[in-house]
């Protein structure tokens, strides 16, 4: 043991010598250090998939509309917008004097070019989808952008809030596939409050302040996002002061940080909604999408609302939240989470946790334990209520949730065969194959409810996004209506009605809406925005106002 100790001492000494030699570096600017668990997969907005990429895009680029943490949108590079009466033409007046990070002026031509770029590249993974309703985008002069729509839509602000404005003088050589997707865009020239200084994949992204930004010049000089591959190390880095803020942390670490006066933990609804769901395979054999590989082997009992209702009433959501999330979540109702603000139907009263009531429902519906083995059978006695329950093997919460559900549902005479499955294999068996009984999974999504609402739509069954196989013509009708309803209040009513329908049909059991947990050091920077309905410390709103503690 002594030899090991000596070895450590030698190495430590060496380290001290090196660090002593190195302290004479140049004076550094005001640098905010952010620790996070990922790294952008690319700097090309067309091909980005990971959240980290979009966090960086939001800081480096401007857009026509900006989404704010209070759930509303505001005009960004545009000073005004004029909407034609038929809702089919939008005319934006672009703010004068905006410059790209390389000094070139940004004009309406760049805006139109960017939107056309996203529209024309069908293999741009996400951003292309936002342009589906755009007919033409033109810039008649340097300060005017005219968007003509195919159909009037209620959410142009949402659609435009992800369409980043890129410089035509750089991207014109990469406007078409395959150049548009192969372009690495390492300089990431935009007009946003921050500019790209350095990007080292899987290590860090270093951004410098764009002090000449027309609206939001940051107070700090640099923001560095450093990748840490483990949550515990993130927390430790914050404690040791290696970083000033972390964008994610495990719930288990919150308690250990409570006593630390220099660290403040913030929790709340995440920027992108996080919904966990218990998926019941309830596809009607008539709707089975056999032409795209549908086999539809689900347990027939799950097609019965009574069974799903009973399972819902047999689920103690608070217990799940307390044990799986250590309390950092809220009980869920439908796929539309409370984090979506006004779109969330808060008038719905959740089914009460009541195992006796659940037992009664099953008894009344004819699901009795005819052979007295402790497990109920379907009414004709041919099959027990034994369900396969699968979850993605990379899920941390999956095993705990499955065990707890197995326990709770065991109280009402239902048994589960638990199994973790490779996420890809799970996608393959899930949908549109419908080769499962119950899956524990979840969604992350956009601020607009349209995306999550589409998951219930019959039209999404063959595409594999309707994961339950649920099909209700009344719902489908409302889904189409909300997609074209221009009056926000009326659209809200439709969206609320839709939630009521799927809630009454017990399409899912939604155990909870998970909260995001972030933390920052109080002795380094001040001014973090933490009182908004959504919490995101790495959002541009915080990063432009934080300043060093005096």
């Amino acid at each position: 043991m002594k030899t090991k100790y000596n070895f450590l001492v030698v190495v430590t000494l060496l380290a001290l010598i090196v660090s002593a030699c190195g302290t004479a570096g140049p004076t550094t600017p005001v640098v905010l250090r952010v620790g996070w668990g990922g790294s952008p997969d690319t700097l090309n907005p067309g091909t980005g998939v990971l959240t980290e990429a979009y966090t960086i895009f939001a800081l480096v680029y401007d857009t026509l509309y900006e989404f704010q943490l209070d759930g509303t949108y505001k005009l960004d590079v545009a000073d005004s917008v004029n909407v034609a009466d038929d809702g089919l033409t939008y005319t934006f007046k672009i703010h004068d004097g905006i410059k790209f990070h390389d000094g070139q002026p940004m004009t309406a031509k760049d805006v139109a070019f960017s939107l056309n770029l996203y529209k024309n590249n069908t293999d741009f993974i996400y951003l292309n989808a936002y342009t589906a309703n755009f007919d033409t985008i033109e810039a008649p002069d340097d300060s005017t952008v005219v968007i003509k729509m195919l159909n009037a839509v209620p959410n142009i602000d949402y659609l435009l809030s992800y369409l980043y404005i890129v410089p035509e003088h750089i991207w014109k050589d990469y406007a078409e596939a395959p150049a548009s997707t192969e372009f690495e865009n390492l300089q990431t020239i935009g007009t946003g409050p921050f500019k790209m200084l350095e990007y080292s994949p899987n290590e860090f992204v270093r951004l410098g302040a764009n002090k000449d930004h027309f609206a939001n010049p940051p107070k700090i000089d640099e923001a560095i996002f450093q990748t840490f591959e483990s949550d515990d190390v993130l927390v430790q880095s914050l404690k040791s002061g290696a970083v000033d803020m972390i964008t994610e942390m495990p719930a288990t670490a919150v308690e250990s940080l409570k006593g630390d006066k220099t660290i403040s933990v913030v929790t709340g609804a995440p920027f992108a909604p996080a919904v966990s769901d218990v998926i019941f395979n309830q596809i009607d054999p008539e709707n089975c999408p056999t032409d795209v590989g549908g086999v539809c082997t689900g347990h027939p009992a799950l097609r019965d609302r009574n069974v799903r209702l009973a399972l819902s009433q047999a689920t103690d959501k608070q217990k799940l939240i307390d044990i799986v999330l250590l309390g950092f979540g809220a009980p869920g109702l439908t796929l539309i989470p409370d984090g979506l603000g006004k779109w969330y139907n808060n008038s719905l009263q959740d089914y009460k946790y009541d195992a006796a009531e659940a037992n009664r429902i099953l008894d009344d519906a004819g699901y009795l334990d005819t052979n007295s083995d402790g497990v109920r059978e379907i009414p004709d006695g041919s099959r027990p209520l034994t369900f396969r329950m699968h979850w993605p093997s990379d899920s941390i919460d999956g095993p705990r949730m499955a065990e707890l559900l197995s326990e709770m549902w065991g109280e009402v005479g239902v048994t589960l065969e638990l199994q973790a499955i490779d996420p890809d294999a799970l996608t393959a068996e899930c949908c549109p194959a419908f080769d499962y009984d119950i899956i524990l999974w979840g969604w992350g999504s956009d601020p607009d409810p349209n995306l999550l609402l589409s998951v219930y739509a019959t039209s999404e069954i063959p595409n594999g996004y309707n994961e339950t196989g649920y099909s209700n013509p009344a719902y489908d009708e409302l889904y189409l209506q909300q997609g074209v309803e221009l009056d926000p209040e009326k659209r809200k009513d439709l969206v609320w009605q839709m939630q009521e329908i799927v809630f009454n049909d017990v399409v899912y059991v939604i155990p909870y809406y998970e909260e995001t947990i972030q933390a920052y050091r109080t002795d380094r920077f001040t001014g973090w925005i933490t009182d908004t309905p959504k919490v995101e410390l790495s959002d541009v709103s915080s990063l432009i106002v934080v300043e060093p503690v005096k």
Partner: protein, 342 residues
């Protein structure tokens, strides 16, 4: 068999093995369940035509081999298709041109992705290997020399404990200790120092290497120590060592001239195998210390069904393991001429 025949035979086998891996690599990933287009983007925004466009971009629209569109699920296809329009032959053709393709996930050339990571891994694992070999072998020799003394038992216990420590656990423990003592605990270097003098940067990387290297060294040192000790003990029990002692040689002379060369044989094997796997990185150490090495690249690529990266990494590992083994074989024949005669 003369020396050249032996050499050619070994090289031919090595080439054959690599070729086998090249073919296996391709099919291994195609029989895994999962669709690279949908994995990682299970999202309604990815519409049908966008999926189709991605498939074309990745070349996944072409049949895997003649007669088979896909292998999982097995979907029979046209047998009369031009073989050079199938994924397998395109893969072979690209490979012969040194083209590893583009990562599905980052759209960057695989060679670039692996290149960056390879150097990071070689830096870290190389340093760890070197240290653990030197320390392990020296202590192993010393322990065998002082057999059945407290030094020997001490070394033996240290070796056993070190070798059986779970790597990630030791890593985490050292990480917390280091973090409280001012050591950097994540990444290869402090971000944002690229404009600083080279020496400052080198010193910074050195500081970042300390904890992961110690972790690696402790774990692997145990292996070398134990093998070296027992191998040397075996040799020291041989009759010719007794003869050497009887001739009046000093212990040092016995060790140097008579025992070490024979005792090195098993160590050479282990070193060769471990060095071969060096490029595979050490997933656990890399992930504990967020070291951007190849181990992490394998993990991420697997998660996202990034076939081109996986193929590239596996090929790299196979080549280096085969090469290391070839070198071991040749060293063996040099250390122990009997090997050739077999």
């Amino acid at each position: 068999m003369n020396r050249y025949q032996f050499l050619w035979k070994k090289i031919a086998w090595a080439l054959f093995t690599i070729l086998f891996v090249v073919v296996l690599n391709f099919f291994l990933f195609r029989i895994l369940p999962g669709d690279p287009v949908r994995s990682g983007t299970r999202d309604p925004r990815l519409k049908k035509d966008a999926q189709e466009a991605l498939r074309i971009r990745f070349g996944l629209d072409k049949p895997v081999i003649p007669c088979f569109e896909t292998l999982n699920p097995i979907k029979p296809g046209d047998c009369a298709v031009n073989p050079f329009e199938t994924q397998f032959f395109l893969y072979l053709r690209n490979l012969t041109q040194g083209e590893l393709g583009y990562s599905f996930h980052t759209n960057r050339p695989v060679a670039d992705v692996l290149g960056e990571r390879l150097w990071n891994t070689i830096l870290l694992i190389g340093a760890g290997q070197l240290l653990s070999i030197v320390i392990g072998v020296l202590f192993g020799m010393f322990a065998a020399w002082k057999a059945r003394t407290s030094i020997d038992y001490g070394a033996l216990i240290t070796g056993l404990v070190a070798w059986s420590l779970p790597t990630f656990w030791l890593g985490i423990i050292l990480l917390f200790w280091g973090s409280n003592n001012g050591f950097p605990i994540g990444g290869k270097a402090t971000p944002g120092i690229s404009s600083f003098p080279f020496l400052y940067q080198a010193g910074d990387v050195f500081k970042h290497m300390i904890l992961p290297t110690i972790t690696y060294t402790i774990v692997y040192m145990g292996e070398y120590l134990l093998v070296m000790r027992s191998s040397l003990l075996d040799v020291l029990a041989e009759d010719y060592i007794l003869t050497a002692k009887a001739k009046g040689l000093t212990t040092f002379q016995i060790l140097k001239d008579h025992a070490l060369k024979n005792a090195m044989l098993p160590i050479v094997t282990i070193i060769a195998i471990n060095l071969g796997f060096t490029v595979a990185g050490a997933i656990q150490i890399e992930s504990v210390y967020s070291w951007p090495g190849l181990g992490g690249a394998v993990y991420e690529a697997l998660e996202r069904r990034d076939y081109p990266v996986l193929q590239g990494v596996f090929l790299l590992i196979a080549v280096s393991v085969v090469l290391a083994n070839l070198i071991a074989d040749l060293t063996y024949s040099f250390l122990d001429p009997r090997v050739q005669a077999d």
